[in-house]
């Protein structure tokens, strides 16, 4: 690198003196951003920052040092980058940054909007910001993970700008930029549609139109929020005045599907049809014990046991049930045998 002129050397001196202040500003900016992100609940891929190295700053000054009167004119000595999953989140974090920092609008660029029809690249939103208590400005880059991947690979080609890159490679990078932009839009659309779907399902569950809702992981969770098993669990807990511990019920999804439940309506009918026998089974099992703690899975577990035995599933059906909720295990066979014996005296087994 050629030697810097006197003017640029003065800026370099200024930089060395400013380093402790820059580090303090970096800490302050990062703490402010992390706190705001935690509060918002937004999940991002990365929040990273760097202070320009002496070598990098000298390189910049060697190229265009005359453009800057002082160090404070260089806006990216401290650079902060937030990488998001979704394009929508870039805009949400931009709004957040506008609340947190003073934005130098004259020097901030939304590079996403700069591209013409035939333009090259896939860029991010750059805000030049100032945080209270510091004179220096810093650059905040906001981009999606795909934009970040494109930019990183583009940087790796060694070309600093689109002008230098040979036309053939430029065209191919441009095609990829378009492809990734479409993928980003599609990811955002998918997220929006999934959110809408969950809202629709919740509304259907609340309105009781359960036959219109196909059974899947999302719909099952929404249904469980209504508490369809609460009454049965409380009845079972009352046998020994037991406390109820929350347990995840998602493992039963596979079992319910195997029991031919295709909609939430099917699940609801299954619960209502077998809940009394499920309670009797629990009373038969727990009544002679002093066990005063049960998990919230007990109601659904017993409903599945009763359904399997009532429909002729037998010990093999029970073993499959225990495999599904407890993982495959050689002892599940003994457990199935024992459960079968316990249930054999109950009314629902009398005709089996």
């Amino acid at each position: 690198m050629e030697a810097l002129d006197f003017h640029c050397q003065l800026i370099m001196d200024e930089y060395r003196e400013a380093l402790p202040m820059l580090e303090s500003m970096q800490g302050q900016v990062m703490a402010t951003l992390h706190e705001a992100l935690d509060r918002s609940g937004l999940v991002v891929t990365a929040v990273e920052s760097r202070i320009k190295t002496e070598e990098s700053l000298a390189g910049k000054l060697a190229l265009k040092g005359s453009k800057y009167a002082a160090l404070s004119d260089i806006t990216d000595v401290l650079g902060v980058r937030i990488v998001t999953f979704y394009t929508d989140d870039v805009d949400r974090i931009a709004s957040m940054a506008e609340q947190l920092f003073e934005i130098d609008w004259q020097n901030s660029v939304d590079k996403r909007r700069l591209h013409q029809l035939d333009s090259f690249g896939y860029s991010s939103l750059h805000y030049i910001c100032r945080i209270p208590g510091y004179d220096m400005r810093f650059e905040l880059q906001l981009r999606t993970t795909l934009q970040h991947a494109w930019a990183a690979i583009n940087h790796d080609t060694g070309y600093k700008s689109g002008v230098e890159i040979p036309r053939e490679y430029m065209r191919r990078m441009n095609r990829l930029a378009g492809l990734l932009e479409m993928a980003d839009d599609e990811f955002s659309r998918i997220r929006t549609e999934i959110t809408d779907y969950r809202r629709r399902v919740q509304a259907l569950v609340k309105s009781g139109k359960l036959d219109d809702v196909l059974l899947d992981g999302d719909t099952f969770r929404s249904y469980l929020q209504v508490g369809p098993l609460d009454a049965l669990n409380k009845r079972i807990a009352a046998i020994n005045q037991a406390e109820i511990q929350d347990a995840p019920l998602i493992r039963f999804l596979k079992v319910l599907k195997a029991l031919k439940c295709n909609t939430l309506g099917d699940v609801d009918r299954l619960i209502h049809h077998y809940e009394d026998d499920a309670y009797r089974l629990a009373r038969h099992q727990l009544g002679n014990t002093d066990l005063d703690i049960v998990s919230s899975a007990i109601g659904l577990q017993n409903i599945c046991i009763v359904c399997i035995l009532s429909t002729g599933g037998g010990k093999i059906g029970l073993e499959r049930l225990f495999d599904a909720i407890n993982g495959h295990n050689s002892q599940n066979n003994e457990l199935a045998e024992l459960t079968y014996q316990q249930a054999s005296n109950l009314p629902f087994m009398q005709n089996k």
């Binding site: 629990a282 066990l291 998990s295 007990i298 577990q301 909720i325 407890n326």
Partner: protein, 100 residues
Amino acid sequence: MTTTITESGNQLIAQFIGRLDTAAAVQTAEDVKPLMEAANREIILDCSRLEYISSSGLRIFLSVRKEAATHGSKVIVRDINADIRQVFMMTGFISLFEIQ
């Protein structure tokens, strides 16, 4: 009732010997405290020599599971006998633990 805790690689293994009933629960709760503080470990509750478990014992297992989860650790219940497996089944606890 005795409880011993040993380390093996990333695993913390608690072996329970005897009957984990209400009388033994206070001491056992004290004995398993090191498990509660372990972060990012695999915690094995070795029940191969555990003869009996009461509700108090289930509560101890549950508190280990809860604390372990907050510290990023995972709990596996290993080698329970048929009677204890039945207790886990009757209470719905087989949905709460990974049992091997």
